[in-house]
Symmetry: C2
Subunit: 290 residues, 2 copies
C-alpha cells in the first residue's frame, strides 16, 4: 500500500539515498526568510554529499554526535569550544577572507581571536603598553597610509598581545595588571604610530577539551605563532582587523588556526636601544569603502 | 618579509580563500588513523565549499556558533538535541540508508529512533502489548520470510509504539505502566507472528529547543506520522530495524525525520472483532548476510 494514489506524496517522493537532498530541502516552507532558506539548503546539500562520499558508518555518526555534544557542553561564558573548532578547521579564517576581500596593496585581514577587549586606555604615541615588566621590550612603529601612500590622520589603532608567559591579561585576571599589553593610539597628520610592547611569544590554544583531543588524533599541535593584534579604523576606510607575525617563529607555517598571511609576517630586528631589545616596522594600508 | 626563503612554508603555502581546503587538510599528520583522516578531510572540503558557495557572512557564522552551542547545552541524559538535529536535516535517515542497502524484495530499514528499550518482555503469539487500556485496539499480524518466500523460524520480533496520547512509556514513567505497548515475539516453524496493540498516533518530536525553533523558522512542523516500531532478527539474516506506517496518516508525506518509505506504509483496516477495531497485515522479508 502506498500513497501514490492519494495525491499527497510530494513531487520528489519519499526520501531515498538518491534524492535525499531534494526531499529535505523541498520541506522548507514558502513563507520563510529567503536567505535562511538558501543557507540551510546549501548546508543540507553539503552535509548529505559528505555522508554519501565517505559512506559514513552508523558508528562514525554516533562518534560525531558525541563529539558535538561534548563540544557544546564544555562551553562556558569564558570558553567557546565551537569557535575553537571553527578556528582549527579553517572555517573562521575562510569566513574572514570571504568577508574582507580588499584591493591589492591594502593590508590584509586576519581573525579577531577571542581575547580582544573594548575600552583599552588611549595612550600617547611612543608609550609603553607592557605593565608587568616581563618579556623582551620591542618598539613597534610605522605609518597608517591610504592606497596612494598618503598618511591617514586620526586613525585609531587598538593593539593587544599576550605577555611573555603566553597569556593575555584576561586569561590571568588575578596575576596580570589590567590592560597589560593593550592600548589605543591615534595618528596625527603624519600618520605615524609607535609604542613599546614586548616581542610576542607563541602559545597553545586551550587544548584540554574535545578540540584539543581532535587535534591530537589528527597529529596536529595546538600552537599559534607569536603575533601582535591590531584593529585599525579611520573615517571613510574599511575597518582592518589583523595581526603582525614574528618572522622567525617556529609555528609560522603551522598556525593551528591558519591565521598567517605572507604579507602579515613582519620584521623583528635587534634594536639594543637602552632597555629596548627589538624593533618591528610595519605600515598599515587602509582601503576606502567601495 | 616572507618565509619563502626559509624553506619552512608548506608546499601549499599560507591559507587563502582559494587553497583553504588543501592547506587545512595538509596539516593532518602522517601517523594517524587513515579512516579518521579521510573523514575529516572530506568534512573540511564540504564545510569550506558550503561557506564559499553561499558566501557565509560573519553574522551568520556567529548565529551558527550560537545555535550549535545551545544545541549542545540543552542535551541531557534524557534529551539528545544533536540527534534531533541530524534527524530533522535528514542525515540520520541517510546514514541508515547508506548502511542498510538490501536486495530488492527485502524489507527496508528505517531509523531506530530514541525510544527503543532493551529487555522488553517476551510474550506469547497473539498477546496484548497495550497495558494502559487506551487507544483503538489493533491486531498486527503477518509472517517473517526469506527472499524466496520461505518462513523464517525463530525470528525475534521486538515491537514498540507510542500510546494513544502520543507518548512512549519511557517518556511518562510515572503515568504509563512499564513496558506499555512493548513486547518481544518469537516465530515458530510457520514464520507467523501476531499481537494486539493500538493503532499508533502521530506525535511531535520535542520542539521546545533550538531544533524546534529551527523547524519553525524553516516553516516546517515537528510531527512524525503514526508508526509501529520493529526490530526483526534471525540467525543468518541481516538485522532489520524498521517501522510500519499507518497509511492514512496526514503527516505521511511530511515526516519531520524523513523516516517514511513507500514499502513501509501498511494497511490498517477496520476489523470489528470484539474489542479489536483495526487489523494491520504486514510481512517482513529478511535478507541473508552477504
Amino acid at each position: 500500500m502506498t500513497s501514490d494514489t492519494s495525491g499527497k506524496a510530494p513531487a520528489t517522493g519519499y526520501f531515498t539515498e538518491d534524492n535525499s537532498v531534494e526531499v529535505v530541502n523541498a520541506r522548507i516552507g514558502g513563507n520563510v526568510d529567503a536567505r535562511l532558506a538558501t543557507v540551510l539548503a546549501c548546508l543540507v546539500k553539503h552535509l548529505h554529499t559528505f555522508a554519501q562520499e565517505i559512506e559514513l558508518t552508523q558508528e562514525e555518526w554516533e562518534l560525531g554526535i558525541g563529539f558535538l555534544t561534548r563540544t557544546g557542553q564544555i562551553c562556558t561564558r569564558e570558553r567557546q569550544e565551537f569557535i575553537l573548532l571553527s578556528d582549527t578547521l579553517g572555517l573562521s579564517m575562510l569566513v574572514d577572507a570571504i568577508n574582507n576581500r580588499r584591493p591589492n596593496g591594502a593590508t590584509e585581514n586576519t581573525v579577531l581571536g577571542p581575547f580582544h577587549v573594548e575600552g583599552a586606555p588611549v595612550r600617547a604615541m611612543g608609550e609603553r603598553i607592557t605593565l608587568d615588566g616581563k618579556g623582551d621590550s620591542c618598539l613597534f612603529l610605522g605609518r597608517v597610509l591610504d592606497l596612494d601612500g598618503n598618511p591617514v590622520e586620526g586613525a585609531r589603532i587598538d593593539v593587544w598581545s599576550d605577555n611573555a608567559d603566553g597569556y593575555y591579561d584576561v586569561q590571568q585576571p588575578n596575576i596580570q595588571p589590567k590592560w597589560n599589553n593593550r592600548g589605543v593610539f591615534v595618528t596625527g597628520p603624519d600618520g605615524h604610530y609607535s609604542f613599546i610592547g614586548i616581542k610576542p611569544v607563541s602559545y597553545p590554544i586551550p587544548d584540554d577539551g574535545p578540540v584539543g583531543k581532535m587535534l591530537d588524533q589528527l597529529g596536529r599541535h595546538p600552537y599559534r605563532p607569536a603575533h601582535m593584534h591590531y584593529i585599525v579604523q579611520a573615517q571613510g576606510y574599511q575597518k582592518l582587523v589583523t595581526h603582525t607575525f614574528v618572522g622567525d617563529d617556529p609555528y609560522l607555517d603551522s598556525d593551528t588556526v591558519f591565521g598567517v598571511k605572507k604579507t602579515l609576517v613582519a620584521p623583528f630586528e635587534p634594536a639594543a636601544d637602552g632597555d629596548i631589545l627589538w624593533r618591528s616596522d610595519f605600515d598599515f594600508v587602509l582601503a576606502r569603502f567601495e
